[in-house]
Structures are given as C-alpha cells and as structure tokens.
C-alpha cells in the first residue's frame, strides 16, 4: 500500500505560510519556557544523566522489575493483566468494562485521561464498535476527539489548532455561539460538558507515567486534574502502561518528576502528580501492561534506549522540522524525532521516510531529559532503510554512482569540471527549472567557478 510520505505531507503543511509561522512560533515558545525552567536548576544535567542511567539499568532488568511490580500491585489488591499487543490490550479493557458494569438499556460509559498507549492501540474506535461510550477528558484530546483527528503532539494534542478552529468545533459539538473564540468561554463550555460526563461515568481509564516496582503503585501526571476526577467518581479504574514505564524504587521518582514537567512545558512540576496504590473499598482497580512491539525494540541494541522515553515532548518542541511540518505529517501515534525512531520498529515500510525527516541537527538529543541519542538512532535507521531496499530507486542508484565517482580522484575531477562547465553554459531557466531541480524552488544555485580549488592549486602552488 502507498502511504503519503513525510515530504508530501510536510509540503502540504507548508503551503500555508502564515500558519506554518504560527505553528513554529507557538512550539518555539514552549521550548523557550522549557529553557527558562531548566537554566536556573544547576544540577539539571546531572539529573538527566541520573535519569538516563536509572532507565538503562531498568531496561536491562526489565523482566525482574515487571514481575516485582506485578507481585506488589497484586498484594495491594489491584488486578494486573498482560497484553502482548494492541488487540489483546483492547480485548482486555473491553472485558473488564463488560464484566464490571452490568448496565441495562444503555451503553457502558468510559472517561479517559490522556494515554498515548491507548492512542497507539486505537482503543477508542474498538470500544465504540463494541457499544461502549468513550469520552476523552483532557481538553486537547477532547477537541481532537470531536474532530475525529489523532493528536498532533503527545503533550499538546491539539497544538495544530487555533482558537478559531476550536471555536468552530465547539459550536458544532457543544453549541457555543458561532464565531466564539474567547479561550475562557470555550474552556468553560468544555468544563461544563465534561462535568456531566464525569458524573455519569461507569469506568475511568488513565495512562501511567511511572510504575514503581518496589511498591506496586503508579503515578499519573496531569495539569487538568481530569485523571483524578474520573478515577474518584468511577467504580472501576483501569490504568494502561507500556512495559517501559517501570522505575525500580519510589525514591527514583523525584528524578523524573523534576525532569518531566520542566522538559514538557517549563513548569517546575505538573499541577497534579497523583499516586495510586490500591482500590478504594468497594471499587476495582486494574492495570494492563502492554508489550506491542516494545520487547522487539528492546532486542535491537542500537535502538533499545528509545524505550527510556518519558513522553515529555521536548524533542518535538525543539525540532525545527516538526515545528514546520506538524504532528500529522509523521502519520504515527508518536510524532517528531522520538516517533521517527520508534515507528520503523513497528512498520519499516510504512514509516521509511521518517528517519529522513531530520537534518540530524542533534537538538533533540541535547534537549532529551533521559539523554536518548535520538539523532544517532535516526542515522542508524537510515542505514536499515537503505539495507532493506526501501530507498527510492533513483536515490539509491544516485548514491551508488556518487560513491564510485568519489572513490576515483580522476573521475571526480573530470565530473566536477564538466558539471561546472554545464552550469556556466546552460541558461538560468534550465539549471533552475523547478520541476527538475527542487533546490531551485526557493534558492539560487551557487555560481559555478571556472577553476576548482584543485585546479587553482595546480596552477599556483605546484
């Protein structure tokens, strides 16, 4: 099947110059907020190192820590489920809901706080098909849910939308006045709408930011308090996590909470950092632990450290390509630089353009709070795409040709001379033909000099 690749989607995004400017500046503002929160912390770089090392250690002992977590959570009265893939995950969630909510004459109701894992598993669509009503309660998630769009950012799901777009969406779905774009009024409308959903819900589903092996408890970070509201009002709490969310001990947690919010939004800490250990009397708590390709990535030596990711989104905010192409141009649950190293593990053919959607500038690796060498992994995925014969044929043969020429000095010298000669003789309209030469769409070619440096050297210095 042919999917539109990143360059095509990015080009379409860039057609609207002003909107691209706005998108870039909005995310750059978040990056600057992050800088302002990071610079005053003298030990910030040490925290990054520590966070990276704890995660490295955990990934190397993941089997043991996962079992320790399960044992302790079970002791706490939590029911732990294991899912090998998205299908199993969705099935498990559905069965928990069907078994715990015997509702008559209506659909079971689920409120969800933000969980990229359930996006990855396409849980919403699956549950809706099985007569379960799903309401995303994070404001940004609710907006994109109304619009039937995937999130475009893992922390700021509706960052691709302007307040005017949100106004239109709310007019259609919540009956706000047409043309209303005041954030205060729109947020209040969402708040009232969501209150009704919270109060009427049967089940609350949350993600998990950190699962602590030592205690069997877990932590959910939000800014809106929507996870807490849902969990405390519902009879059943389902929490879903990828296997990589484990940290060994409770005292490791503060390393991550200090890094997460600063890196994500420039806050010292998320507004709500909620710890969940055991179900309230008379209620149920379930944890679903999901693999879905993660153990395969863990087995790839060059790429396993991508599993250290704590989903802060800083690599998206800093990425000059993401800021100018938008989250949807990546066509993967997790966009941006981190998505470009996670996605080829899931489907190399479909996502083969993503490792090339980068200049390898390295900003992502320097901003990453757990020191994932993202740009190094992008380079390595490129080689795997090349080896898997997934490069466009023209590019592949051009590369092979270039490699030959550049390993033979005489051929190189002659080709250079001929190319420069041609560039000098041919008319500008031809050398800068935009359909043949993408360079020339927005740029002039350099002037082709009569002499190369080598020729100058031979004439003047030999």
């Amino acid at each position: 099947m042919n999917h539109p690749d990143h360059p095509e989607l990015a080009e379409a995004f860039n057609k609207d110059f002003e909107r691209t400017t706005w998108h870039d500046e909005t995310l750059w503002f978040v990056r600057q907020k992050r800088d302002k929160a990071v610079y005053p912390v003298p030990e910030f770089q040490d925290l990054r190192t520590l966070a990276s090392e704890i995660k490295d250690h955990t990934l190397s002992n993941l089997d043991n820590y996962l079992i320790e977590f399960e044992e302790n959570a079970t002791k706490n009265g939590v029911k732990v489920h294991w899912a090998a893939d998205a299908t199993e995950h969705n099935q498990i969630v559905m069965e928990i809901i069907k078994n715990s909510c015997k509702v008559e004459g209506r659909n079971a109701r689920l409120v969800k706080s933000k969980s990229m894992l359930t996006e990855e598993c396409h849980l919403n669509g699956f549950l809706e098909k099985n007569n379960i009503d799903v309401v995303d309660t994070d404001l940004g998630e609710r907006i994109v849910q109304f619009r039937n769009e995937p999130p475009s950012h893992i922390v700021l799901p509706a960052i691709h939308l302007k307040k005017e777009d949100v106004g239109e969406t709310f007019h259609k779905h919540l009956g706000t006045t047409k043309g209303e774009k005041d954030p205060q009024i729109l947020t209040e409308a969402a708040r009232q709408h969501l209150r009704g959903k919270f109060v009427a819900t049967d089940v609350a589903l949350t993600g998990i930011n950190f699962a602590i092996a030592e205690t069997g408890s877990f932590v959910v970070c939000t800014n809106e308090g929507n996870a807490d509201l849902g969990v405390n009002l519902a009879k059943v709490h389902i929490a879903c996590m990828g296997i990589e969310k484990i940290i060994p001990k409770l005292h490791h947690l503060s390393v991550y909470t200090r890094l997460l919010a600063r890196s994500a939004t420039g806050q010292p800490v998320t507004t709500y950092t909620s710890h969940f250990t055991k179900p309230v009397k008379g209620k149920e708590m379930h944890i679903v632990i999901v693999d879905n390709g993660r153990t395969q990535q863990l087995g790839r030596e060059d790429f396993r450290s991508s599993l250290k990711c704590i989903r802060c989104g800083a690599c998206m905010n800093t990425c000059p390509v993401y800021r100018r192409s938008g989250g949807h141009s990546y066509d993967f649950t997790v966009p941006g630089p981190i998505g470009a190293i996670l996605s080829p593990n899931i489907d190399l053919h479909k996502h083969k353009s993503l490792p090339f959607a980068s200049t390898l500038c390295g900003s992502c690796s320097d901003v990453c709070p757990v020191k994932i060498d993202i740009h190094v992994q992008l380079y390595k995925w490129r080689q795997i795409v090349g080896q898997a014969n997934e490069l466009p044929a023209a590019k592949k043969w051009a590369m092979k040709g270039m490699a030959k020429v550049l390993s033979m000095p005489k051929v190189y010298n002659l080709s250079g001379k001929l190319a420069r000669g041609a560039l000098r003789i041919l008319p500008h309209g031809l050398t800068h033909n935009q359909s043949m030469n993408p360079w020339a769409k927005a740029r002039e070619l350099p002037d082709a000099p009569k002499q190369s440096f080598k020729e100058w050297y031979e004439e003047n210095r030999k």
Partner: protein, 246 residues
Amino acid sequence: MKVALFIPCYVDQFYPNVGVSTLQLLEKLGVEVVFPMKQTCCGQPMANGGCEQDSKGVYEHFVETFSEFDYVVTPSGSCTYHIKKHYDIIEQTPAVQKVRKSIYELVDFIENVLKIEEIPNSFPHKVGLHLSCHGQRGLRQANASEITGVRDGQISKLLRKLNGIELTELERNDECCGFGGMFCVTEEAVSARMGQDRIADHLRNGTKVLTGGDVSCLMHLEGIVKRQNAPIKVMHIAEILNGNQP
C-alpha cells in the same frame, strides 16, 4: 608537524576561494601545509542518505590519502564530525584510527592545536554567525542552548577579537539552517522554510555579513539570500580570518 589540507568536494568545486583562504590563513599562521592531490570527499552525502555501506570505498580512499599526516585540517565542522563519528564501519586499522584522531575543523585547529587566541585583523562590519549543527553539537565547538543560556563558542571567540567587528544578537542563536545534506532536496519545503526563517532572523537583527564554519550551510543560506535579493554578503569564517573584506 606534518599538516595536510582537506578541501571538501563541494568546496573544491563551488567555493575554491574558501579553499584558497584556508590555505593562506594557515600559512600566515606559520603552518606548512600539504595539499594531497588525490583527495575527493569524506563520504558523508551517501552515508546520511542511508547508504553508508556504499561509502566504504570513499572512506578507505580518504584514509589512504591522509594517514601519513599528523594533522588533517579542513574548513568544515560537518566533514570533521563525519570522519570522527562514522568511520567506525570500516576495519579500525592503525591508519583509520590515526586519521579519525588527526582530523580537525579549521577554527578548532587554530585555537586548540596552534593555541592562537587572536588574529590581528580588522573587520569593521556587523557579522551574523551561523553555528553549523555538526560543529556546534557534533564537535561541541559552541555551547548548545538546550544545555545553557550562555552563548559562547570557538568561532565567536576568534571573531569577537577582530577590530571593529560587531556580532549580531540573534533571536534563535543555534537553530539549524535546514540544509541537512540530501534533506535539502528530499524535504525541499521544510528545508527552504528553515533557511528562510534563519535569514529573516539575521535581517531583523542587522546582519550585513553572514558567516559560519560550514560551507554547506552557507551555500544553502546564500541560495536564499540571492533568491530574495537580501542585503547580506555570505563569507566563510576562513575568508574573514584571512583578512578578506566583503
């Protein structure tokens, strides 16, 4: 001290003046420089394109050309980074290890091998410095804004000491220009937009001469300057340090 000059392929073909300035500058600084005639390229274009296996012949040719020298100096942070970082896929013979250690970006060589902290030239212009990512984050030649708010680095240190110079204070001090090798054509839309945004930052803040350590970034940015007829002259750092005037 046996020092070789490496002039990257695209500099050789399109920016011979950068090569000439590099050679003259090194000679003025008292270095005896050899230019091996059989040199071609470091192999980066193919490798970044996902074909590093095809580059092996180019890598081997590079090593064969330069392994007899104590230092290999080049006016490119990007090629230097590539040789240091990515020549790990060929057999690590003593010659390969030596070349990976002896390759130096020009300004790094001036400051850290020659230990020269000041070049007594005058350059009375408002200069905008474009930090190439491979020089800055790859070789750590300049601070990265992700790590610290202090803007400092090897090139700006030398530039600041030129007589009469004024350096542009940019809004985004170290954002990538969008060249990125093959990226500049395969992701043309984003690449061009990134370059346009860099030039706009320089124009808003008064840059008259735009410089940097990598001709590749500068070629891309100059392409945009020329298309827009923007009042900016683009010069490589070697040309400025050599005393050339705009």
